[in-house]
Amino acid sequence: MNSYVVKSGGLHESEIFDPLKLHGSLMAACLAVRSLEGEAHMTAQKITERVIDWLDNKTEVTTDDVRRIAANSLQTYQPEAAYMYETYKDIL
């Protein structure tokens, strides 16, 4: 699996999907709503795997696509974290 992620706005070059980056941002969202570290790690792991499955047979996606799929999956496990993950860019 080597999907390319196109940055929103199309101003930056596309880059290969980085599962660790997604895991990190998901974990940060969980920790921001005071989840325990182990729980946050497990949740981030599950969601990252789901996103990897979704990326299968796709060659190019946008960051917004990845965020949407990740947020929808996160909603199932930790709705509060999903809310923060979704609205992070709309706070300011």
Partner: protein
């Protein structure tokens, strides 16, 4: 006998100052990033207090600076001194109603996207109390185009009060009320409240805050115009 009316006006101006959201948004982001990057409780609170301290220092400095300049021109521009803040508050009030929040999901504010992105990244990288202090100070300065309205009224009413003790109490009342949202958020985060709850509250009440602040500023401007420029003769 103490004339309570100027104190009430100053308190109301402080309340309008408190309704501006840039400082609150940055503090919410700072707390979210601190928690998200698994910083210790001690570090989280140190950053939040440094931010609050930065915002407090700049608020007091702005108040004092504006008071100094108002005193310099006190004798020559007496009527203009009251007319300018009166009109300023009405214009700012209308602007708040029209475009303080972005017409989109979330609590996005009037600031340009590039600036919002920069501030967001800067907040994420904030790791030292000095940076948090600067961020707090910067949040007050960045909001100055809106803050100048209620702040100028509070300054002029403070100067119109007799006695330095009462003037000092007025400054204290204004700053305490103006900074109360930051104080509340620092306390909520410190007591273990989830950032998502705070952000949800902000999002659910953003229209109320926008219209309350906007109409409040128009009312304040009209009051100053009648009370000081027209000499209370209505």
């Amino acid at each position: 006998m103490i004339n309570i009316s100027p104190i009430l006006v100053i308190a109301f101006a402080g309340l309008l100052h408190a309704s501006f959201q840039l400082g609150v948004a940055l503090l919410t982001l700072l707390s979210g990033h601190s928690l998200g990057s698994h910083r210790s409780y001690r570090k989280l609170m140190r950053l939040n207090f440094a931010y609050l301290f930065g915002a407090s220092v700049v608020t007091v400095l702005l108040f004092s600076g504006l008071a100094y300049f108002a005193l310099l021109g006190a004798s020559s521009f007496m009527e203009l001194q009251w007319l300018v803040p009166a009109l300023l508050n009405m214009v700012i009030g209308a602007s708040v109603i029209m475009f303080y929040y972005r017409r989109s999901k979330g609590t996005g504010l009037w600031i340009p996207h590039s600036m919002a992105e920069y501030l967001s990244k800067r907040t994420q990288k904030t790791d030292h109390v000095g940076e948090a202090f600067t961020l707090g100070a910067g949040s007050v300065l960045a909001e100055l185009p809106f803050l100048i309205g209620p702040l100028s009224v509070a300054v002029l009413y403070t100067l119109s009060i007799d006695g330095s003790d009462m003037q000092f109490i007025s400054v204290l009342i204004y700053c305490l009320i103006a900074l109360s949202p930051l104080l509340i958020i620092v306390s909520l985060v410190g007591s273990g409240k989830k950032i998502s709850k705070i952000q949800r509250w902000r999002e659910d009440n953003k229209l109320f805050l926008q219209y309350a602040a906007g109409s409040g500023l128009v009312i304040l401007g009209a009051f100053v115009f009648v009370d000081k420029f027209m000499g209370g003769n209505i």
